[in-house]
């Protein structure tokens, strides 16, 4: 049976990976629910994703779904068990992906590619001088340093 994966998502209760796929022979859209078993907030998402990919019954349904996507979905599941919302989980994932990378060491080409990726958000949030509410000298006051919570970036081993 040929499977054409259309969408892949998750369900929290019970924790499952959901696949919407097309059965090539019947051209019918179907939904398959694959329970994620023995999975806790301490589980290794890469392993769990791999396990599902190699699962004797579910595995071949996921041929067209990348391991990376399955890892990300498992991370949302795990973060849910840790009490994070989907939005928070995705934000954390995006951050941990970008935070540790030292772009100083990239080649020009790779650096330009990364800058182009960053430009997407820049353009999205950008205020143009033609915008009706544009303010050139936009000053915004933020809470004083002493009342702000300490950033976790300052809590790691290295000291300034």
């Amino acid at each position: 049976m040929a499977i054409i994966a259309k969408r892949c998502g998750i369900k929290f209760d019970p924790p499952s990976v959901i696949l919407i796929y097309e059965d090539e022979h019947t051209s019918k859209l179907r939904k398959r629910v694959m329970p994620v078993r023995s999975f806790s907030q301490f589980s290794d998402c890469s392993r769990a994703a791999e396990r599902l990919k190699l699962h004797p019954r579910h595995g071949h349904y996921l041929d067209l779904v990348s391991v990376e996507q399955l890892v990300r979905l498992h991370m949302v599941l795990r973060d849910h068990l840790r009490g994070l919302s989907v939005e928070e989980s995705l934000r954390e994932q995006r951050r941990s992906h970008t935070h540790e990378e030292d772009l100083n060491k990239l080649s020009d080409e790779e650096l330009n590619r990364r800058k182009a990726q960053m430009d997407v958000l820049f353009e999205l949030n950008r205020r143009h001088k033609d915008d009706p509410d544009f303010v050139y000298d936009l000053e915004v006051e933020f809470p004083d340093n002493s009342v702000r919570e300490t950033c976790s970036w300052d809590q790691s081993d290295e000291e300034f």
């Binding site: 934000r91 951050r95 970008t98 935070h99 540790e100 990378e101 030292d102 772009l103 100083n104 060491k105 990239l106 020009d108 650096l111 990364r114 800058k115 960053m118 958000l121 820049f122 353009e123 949030n125 950008r126 205020r127 001088k129 544009f134 303010v135 050139y136 000298d137 936009l138 000053e139 915004v140 933020f142 809470p143 340093n145 002493s146 702000r148 919570e149 300490t150 950033c151 970036w153 300052d154 290295e158 300034f160």
Partner: protein, 221 residues
């Protein structure tokens, strides 16, 4: 490239000794938004000079402070970050420094201490402003405190080159700090330089001194 930087006409750094000219340098990791901040401040009025041989971009800006015209040269890097270090002439005669990190990337914050260390090797006294850029990407970061600036006793700003938050303020403050530093500098080398300039040397002696200086620089390369 080394010390030759000082001899090419675009980089005639002696001009920064004039009262009405200041040099402000930008420091920070690749892709923290240094150029974007410059462009947001200067808007359409900017005409950057790309000196790609020297991995440098110069932005010239003219303003009026207390009724007097002031010329500001902003020095921005164009890829020297990969060496994790700037050429000494980048720091030479600078009057202020704008140091930038990206609130989306911890490593750019951690690297501030390296940039700061290098800055202080060359310019122990100049005013330095710490800028947390890209707050538009995650406003929650503005509720956090960042120890680096506090610990070093440096002014700190939350900014966004995209939506413009506090960009103009940073540059205005930097220019004012650069000017007041220049006026009141207690930096040993600056004092020496000023004394030398004021010293009424005989013409003959003066040229002898300059020759000696040239030789010194040649050797330093």
């Amino acid at each position: 490239m080394a010390g030759d930087m000082k001899r090419i006409p675009e980089l005639e750094q002696e001009k920064y000794d004039a009262d009405e000219q200041v040099k402000i340098i930008c420091l920070g990791d690749s892709a923290v938004g240094k150029s974007k901040l410059m462009e947001r401040f200067l808007m359409d009025g900017y005409r950057p000079q790309q000196l790609s041989t020297y991995a440098l971009t110069l932005y010239k800006y003219t303003t009026t402070i207390n009724g007097r015209p002031v010329l500001v040269d902003f020095w921005d890097t164009a890829g020297q970050e990969c060496f994790q270090s700037m050429h000494p002439s980048y720091y030479f005669k600078a009057h202020a420094c704008i140091m930038v990190f990206d609130v989306q990337r911890k490593v750019t914050y951690k690297n501030l201490s390296n940039w700061y260390k290098e800055l202080r090797e060359y310019r122990p006294e100049i005013p330095c402003l710490v800028v947390a850029n890209k707050i538009d990407a995650d406003m929650r970061m503005t509720q956090k405190s960042f120890n680096f600036a506090k610990k070093q006793g440096l002014p700190f700003y939350f900014v966004s080159a995209a939506d413009g938050t506090n960009v103009v303020k940073v540059f205005k403050d930097a220019i004012n700090m650069a000017l007041s530093y220049k006026k009141n500098s207690s930096d040993f080398m600056d004092v020496v330089m000023r004394e030398l300039e004021n010293f009424d040397l005989e013409r003959k002696e003066e040229s002898a001194y300059e020759e000696e200086e040239e030789e010194e620089e040649g050797r330093a390369d």
